[in-house]
Assembly symmetry: D2
Homo-oligomer: 348 residues x 4
């Protein structure tokens, strides 16, 4: 029903890994995209099942069933593929499809880390296509808009790095912060852990509980380090604490920064305003207001709020981990890569 | 940003009572409507406040502030008004605007009950415009599509009645049920209680708790009775138990019916399939599947599932109380009244 | 720390299946029991792990580790065993321990159903010890207090049956209800599904959602039928709909009954008051009040509220599914079997 | 029922402000206290209402109604009073009762801050009994056990300060941290905001949302500063960010500290182990484990976990804000003041 208009410019899309949460969210967004047509849904589970049975929300809305991946067909039919696969599973598929001319948006971490050694240490796996890493563009439009528009392989950012980088970029790129003392305390909804059942994400375990986990060792930390170091023009190694909170969607990132010199709250706010003035998806709140994850839930927006006192800055950002932290950002990149309006299908 | 295209056919809309949840949801839906332009936001609180401060989700997305109601201006500028007001507050405003040529979608109960005595008993207030009740059309498109399209005053249905009626209409209109033994056990999210703080809806009171309330005396019961009696062609007085469950959105209605004769599950299912085949927003699940409120959350859809055994039918429906149970249904009616595609702005 | 007093009367207890939720709750209750001493914790997972690591809530409070089941040791050391095992796993262990003189409280369904054919059909497994079924007492003290006190094998009731039976017993035992039209609509927290991860109980699936499931085919239905038929003195086959709601603990059961004759609300209330006057754990609410699960959360109490209109009765009960619906009821039975005050360790 | 044993040593207790959450929790704990007898429940709302109707959890468990405060009766009957009042309301009542010989546990902030100017600035109110401040003991037993045991007026600590101070005390008292760079990022359940409805704590507002608030200006910050400065032996001004998370109970406090010199994780852990070895309510988790609020929910315990890397320490504590953060700590102080076992009624 949603995919009526199949104009010349419409792109057929294959979603590989369609039965996880990022696959589901990609489908939901693309269903409302005027120039996208979901053509194939691939996964290794639920083969043959209509997508409306896998995810009840698509009942009566999309008439496709899950199929086993068939990359020859994909290449023939789909100029674009969303790879909603876990890390290590994505690099071969991504390299193969890319080599055969498919425009790839890769949701995994496989092409995000530019330093292959860091990747291999972090993900404890050999990278099979290090030669492709340089060609992949880190899909954060607020940092790499032009490069994304001109590339054919996007490494879609992690959810925590998206929230962390957008919270602090204006100060980091101006070298106004003490690079040795950047602390990120992130609070994430449980959907970030994915759809596969595990003892930690069972409702009765995480409801009515908050816990910090993987302090100092989370896999997204090197990704944050990489992006902030690039902005800063020098090495940054952040302190990162992820926290699990009992909600489905959303990440609130509280960044504690130390300015290199005292600045007024207004002055700091003005720098953010300058950088984010034309960003379609970043909302800078007035001084005294702080973001709530509910306000960006279901949307591709990132809200940022600031507290400044002396040299202490607390920068808070809120995103929906499944949208701006995953599928929405992927669609934003897809729009840029295809020359569509960057906000297409993302305005709600 | 969202309201770019102001074509000839675009309707200016005023939302009266813009600071409650149904106001908020109406704004959210209409922002994405290609032929609607939100022109005025009226309320009696938050006067002068930008809507993006009242509801953070609109920050940077809609550049309007809350104003005190000014109906002269409204009549001049807006051919359509959404009245998101509590019962008793709506009847005068609705009558006045209607008399001055405004197309009105009234969210309150004021024009829903056709029997003025029932209204006055149920809402414990005098009806000031009984003469207008007959002209108002009950805004359930699945029952009154043509009448809605031809009218200028819609009484937008209550959330519970929407879920209840859609769950049982195919059997009731065919007189296949024992009209004296219709039981509705509805489970509603807390947003149904509105945005005004009250001791019952405080988080720490309703989180981790389920409670039944207002058994046999809920104000929506006469509304359910009226609609089912109309369908049945004879008096129906249902047994209705609303239950509060710890979630924000959604109503699951479990209807217990007794068939007048034994039917197979397949036969019952076929009747529903016949009635709902062309309904854009009703999804009939296959036998053996029951709806989840999460699957319709944020959408205008209603999912229905059936269990049949001997003469016992359990019909279960799920809606989002704020969308199909309020703002989405209002937009659906607005689309019909204005001659737009019925699904405009409601396809996600 | 909690187990200081080991008096003559103190009973050593083994908990078999200590790593599930009912095991955990049993430990929590027994830790505060003045005459119980938890001696062995058996399970087939987490072998060797201190219980304080399996369940953080016992950190520093109980110095025992999980062991592989060793029934010879159990028989030697522990006069009492709590079998927190799934159905089919419990019947052999229970029979063996019982034969060797251990007092057994069995949490599974294995000895609940008196009709072995019904058991085998319901649980799709052969019963290996049908000879023991008659000796087992259904552990609902409100129905079988004396029998429990005199037995050595208790079949601890299911959570749904506990809530259902207590909601209607006073009317059923007096044959005041139409036995063919008893409807139970139960709303349960997610912990009822156990601790093992499954796709249905993952937080992001069941948070913000309500769904009915297993309508007419839930395994607890024959158990409800059996107990109500016994009370009624004739066959009862109820209509039972379980519903999953997004909370951790609690069951609210809404029973829809039809009286055989019209009664006043006061008269119905008086019958309940008569039956429950001396029940230490049943609280009958005044007319006009309905129970909330939060009010009995963490406690062994069952609250009951009534609505009566003509011949229609709506009886609502609330329990904590893990306490009165499982571990608390087990401790209550244990108290009765050992001659302790029935409320020992259950007064909070 | 719970208050059967009224031995010589049993203390009659009045709870002033019995209809709020800390009043409710105090009642719940004291009901299970073998040497306490709740004698009077005072409040300014719900006068005449049985406590079992105000809080359903006490239905059938405590036969007292709410009364208007009558301090003459209180003084005559009750040697102990729990003042569960908001700040500014407590100072006069506390001073009066104290002067008349009543042992007072004051839940408000009125006697917590030793510097009257800081109090008046923070709470924007004149202190009417500055002369009593010195006599009041800050009721954190882990810091002031002996003083509490010997005093007759306890200023029961705030919930955030309890979690913050216990997380860092071992390092602060040894002056091992950079006092200028102490950051506390606390995540609190919504019950911390009290029982009175306000637009922020309505379920549909805070469910599925996380937000930071009052950054740098929260009223508990001067209290944290005071206690840490005292421990440190010099001025400390911390950076404090409270965050609201969608759960009812619990505070997780994540403290970011910089050591004055590099230490191993084991060495830091050993200091905590030394300080907390004999604390009945502080549980130090092994390295690599971090606390979950669910594990201390409903209990008076505080769990602490540590991460150490170079000079960076992340110390995480979890408490139940209503128990160790309020009513449990009050009972602990009461036990100390009366010479009872410190853990009486707090062992569950």
């Amino acid at each position: 029903m949603e995919n009526r208009i199949v104009a010349d410019s419409t792109k057929n899309i294959a979603i590989v890994g369609a039965t996880g949460y990022t696959g589901r969210e990609s489908i939901a967004l693309l269903l409302a995209h005027p120039y996208a047509r979901i053509r194939r849904l691939y996964a290794i589970d639920n083969i043959g099942k209509p997508i409306g049975e896998v995810f009840g929300q698509f009942h009566g809305r999309l008439d496709l069933a899950i199929e086993e991946p068939d990359y020859d067909t994909l290449v023939k039919e789909c100029p674009v593929a969303f790879l909603c696969l876990p890390h290590a599973k994505s690099m071969d598929v991504g390299a193969d499809l890319h080599a055969r001319g498919v425009t790839v948006v890769d949701f995994s971490a496989d092409y995000r880390l530019k330093n292959v050694a860091v990747y291999e240490r972090t993900y404890k796996t050999k990278h099979t296509h290090p030669e492709l890493i340089a060609a992949a563009v880190y899909g954060l439009p607020e940092l790499y808009r032009d490069a994304i528009a001109g590339c054919s392989l996007v490494a879609n950012p992690g959810c925590y790095p998206t929230g962390a980088v957008l919270a602090v970029a204006p100060l980091v790129r101006r070298k106004l912060v003490d690079a040795t003392r950047m602390i990120f305390d992130a609070k994430s909804g449980v959907s970030g852990a994915g759809r596969a059942p595990n003892p930690r994400t069972v409702f009765a375990e995480c409801n009515e509980s908050v816990e910090a986990y993987a302090i100092g060792v989370h896999r997204h930390q090197p990704e944050i380090d990489q992006e902030l170091s690039g902005l800063f023009g020098g090495p940054i190694s952040v302190h990162f604490t992820p926290t699990l909170v009992p909600m489905t969607r959303g990440i609130l990132t509280t960044a504690y920064l130390e300015l290199t010199e005292t600045m007024s709250a207004e002055a700091v706010h003005a720098l953010y305003a300058e950088d984010y003035a034309n960003e379609p998806f970043v909302g800078l709140l007035p001084l005294g207001s702080y973001p709530r994850t509910a306000d960006v839930s279901g949307s591709n927006r990132c809200h940022v709020g600031l507290y400044v006192s002396g040299r202490r800055v607390v920068a808070v950002s809120a995103i929906d981990n499944l949208i701006k932290g995953a599928a929405g950002q992927a669609v934003q990149c897809f729009n840029l890569m295809c020359g569509f309006d960057e906000t297409e299908a993302l305005r709600h």
